[in-house]
Symmetry: C2
Subunit: 451 residues, 2 copies
């Protein structure tokens, strides 16, 4: 069946696909579909990033973990991406008193994360899509989408009209495809903003051996009412993100003068002033970004439209799983298309049935990790618990895998990871009780013998 | 300060108000604002209902309870509305085996609900608004809203452009005012559809004394996988609503032939066939409505735009509080304007601060009451609990007020009502435990004496 020829239902060939959004998941899905023999066109509202256009105000440095690595391997693109990546073997915690803490990410060598610039990753994926025969159109901003059983029509702001057998919405948290697909349908939609925002900071490479800017670690500065996270780049510099409340004392709204910014940095992140001499100028010149969680259903419409990544499940960045989960979506959708090649309605329904419960859990975990990064990283009790987690993992192996490890270093479905973690915690509580009871009994016996 | 003259901030007079939506809350708020001396214009996308246009497919019969009654009294409109209303003194439950149950709504004569046609109520409110000097424009469908600090501009689909100092969005669950007000803002938005829908049924007046169509009761038919609720009209007929799952066996999607509908009615609502001889024809000719819960924040923008009723808190109809809570919004907003006459930003912030927690609780209670009406009304244990509630109320008076009574027959804020109900339940559990303990102790003593 050639692309453009009618399918069994008399409509347009379902293998004639328009992907809206040439970001990370849109490009990866385009590659996978092209390899299935589909005709694939990708439409992106921004200019071609390979032509040097900026990517300002977006989180520009991402942590690839197992799910993303697995997806890139599935698409045969892992080596090309890793050539641009910096390894992250653990987390350096910059405590407010100036001390440095360190937690390794796992107990084995494959349990490391890879830091990569969004721009580099996007270029690899765009090139791979073009090599696979995908047609890319930039500066194409979607204005409307007309649903019809036989085909879907995309209308762009420049007047272009495109008909496709299948439309994939990979156009982000404020997806136009989603809004138009769900219009007039009884669709659930939840959008929630964190009352905190963020700005980006560039941190120059440190002196060799300076652990404060270790280029093989993720860096976290937890503070009272603030948080900085930084990823290393391949050139040993770091890209940081400062998270603060949007409003109130100490929030972005109140930090509009050099004096106010300097006072806040000195009070909350003292070692940043040394690492980033121009931190005040950077802070005042960067835009403030917002953080949103999106949950919705349905993710698809009659086998003709389907959503990927942020368009159906935007999460806060605090578990580092936004890109990884979007890549995993592509692999799962690809598997559903394998099993239902002639029936996209069945494929998309299976994809949502498999995936939505997992990404709902990811949204919860990502919100909970914000609290952890903000409040607990500086707590000795919490650090002890993290160490105990890793020690139990070393001792018990696969029978004790910390939740963070399952999320970041395995492809265990998110919801299953949470269930396993809860079972492990229940077992631990039981063991603690049993130990306490046995101890009590022992003391009781010893005291009777002493009588 | 005349309408249209600039306010202190140099913008348009904040007392020059455009209300979008001439439904129940929009009209009531218009009356209250006109009485404060504001210039008020109301814009409604539908035709004037007083000119005989239909109101098809909407829930056309509503239950006024204490909050709505209080709001109408506050506006001086209660008597005019009650002239069109039918009293509902209790609930007749039509059990699947053909038996009838009856629960009075309260223990005193003022604890009754009033059933009124939405159309009649809307006409009273429109007439009252016009008498108070409000300008009404119908067939005016809002296309866009431009936010600016000095004034807000409304653009209508027919090309009309209106500038106002303050805009009130009373345009329902899918509010255009809300969407435009929140555009570009970090706004939380949650929309959730019940997997059940509804159709309306007309039930002719019964023979005098026939309890199956008692014209002074609300009627409920609980069934396995279905629910019918009917309100009486002043002419002794009833207006019913049949609620069913949208999909699956026994859902609306599967009920498209006379045979299928007849079989479903006979199995689930046997006494309806006698009461509504043309129930099958009505069922097949009525459209299926959807039910949505909406929660959102913020409810206002810089003292220039504010939302009312369904536009900021649509709830399922199962507690009968949609209209009542929307009317209560008007009274609360009116009070906030009293306390902050010159500062709408403060008034609107106070309104949301007072009100949002309450309407969030109402959304939860309305969803929980769906389960109650569907599953528990036919359970003997639940009926016993309802009777015990009323008996405790008779015995303990104000120290034991059932939750339903606080919601429907008082103006106790919704969240406070829920807290009181939880405290009462905890006390009851404590009393039950204490009684059991005392009983055990007594038995223990008696058995020792018997030794």
């Amino acid at each position: 069946m050639g692309a453009g020829s009618p399918d069994a239902s008399g409509g347009r060939d379902i293998r004639d696909v328009a992907v809206v959004g040439a970001g990370l998941s849109g490009c990866l899905m385009a590659v996978l579909l092209a390899r299935r023999g589909y005709r694939v066109r990708v439409f992106e509202r921004r200019p071609d990033p390979r032509l040097g256009a900026g990517d300002e105000g977006r989180s520009i440095n991402l942590g690839l973990s197992q799910r993303g690595i697995n997806a890139l391997r599935h698409a045969g693109l892992l080596d090309r991406v890793l050539a641009h990546a910096a390894p992250m073997r653990g987390r350096v915690v910059h405590l407010p008193d100036g001390d440095l803490g360190y937690h390794p990410y796992g107990t084995s060598d494959d349990q490391i994360l890879r830091s990569v610039l969004r721009h580099d990753l996007n270029v690899v994926l765009l090139d791979a899509a073009e090599s696979a025969g995908v047609a890319l159109r930039f500066d194409a901003r979607l204005a409307d989408l007309d649903k019809a059983d036989g085909a879907v029509t995309l209308r762009f702001e420049d007047g272009a009209v495109v008909e496709a057998g299948t439309v994939i919405g990979a156009d982000g948290a404020f997806s136009t495809v989603r809004a138009r697909m769900q219009r007039g349908e009884p669709a659930d939609y939840h959008q929630e903003f964190l009352p905190w925002g963020y700005k980006e900071l560039s941190i120059a490479a440190g002196a060799p051996g300076d652990r404060r800017a270790d280029p093989e670690s993720l860096h976290v500065w937890p503070a009272d009412g603030g948080l900085v996270v930084a990823h290393p780049n391949a050139d040993r510099s770091l890209t940081g993100t400062i998270f603060l409340p949007l409003t109130g004392p100490g929030g972005f709204d109140a930090l509009r003068t050099p004096d106010a910014v300097r006072a806040m940095i000195t009070a909350r992140f003292p070692d940043l002033t040394g690492l980033v001499p121009d931190v005040v100028e950077q802070f005042l010149s960067q835009p403030t970004g917002h953080l949103v969680t999106v949950r919705t259903a349905p993710w698809h419409w009659r086998g003709r439209v389907v959503l990927l990544g942020d368009a159906c499940h935007a999460v806060y960045p605090f578990y580092g799983q936004g890109m990884n989960s979007a890549f995993e979506d592509c692999v799962i959708l690809d598997g559903c298309l394998d099993r239902n090649a002639a029936d996209h309605a069945a494929a998309f329904a299976e994809y949502q049935a498999i995936r939505k419960a997992d990404t709902d859990v990811l949204a919860d975990l990502s919100a909970a990790n914000f609290v952890e990064l903000r409040d607990r990283l500086s707590s000795p009790l919490f650090l002890a618990r993290k160490k105990a987690d890793l020690a139990l993992n070393r001792l018990l192996g696969r029978r004790w895998v910390p939740l963070y490890t399952m999320i970041s270093h395995t492809t265990t479905p998110y919801a299953e990871a949470l269930r396993r973690s809860r079972r492990q915690n229940a077992t631990l509580a039981w063991l603690a009780c049993a130990t306490a009871a046995a101890g009590t009994l022992l003391i009781h016996r010893l005291s009777r013998q002493g009588k």
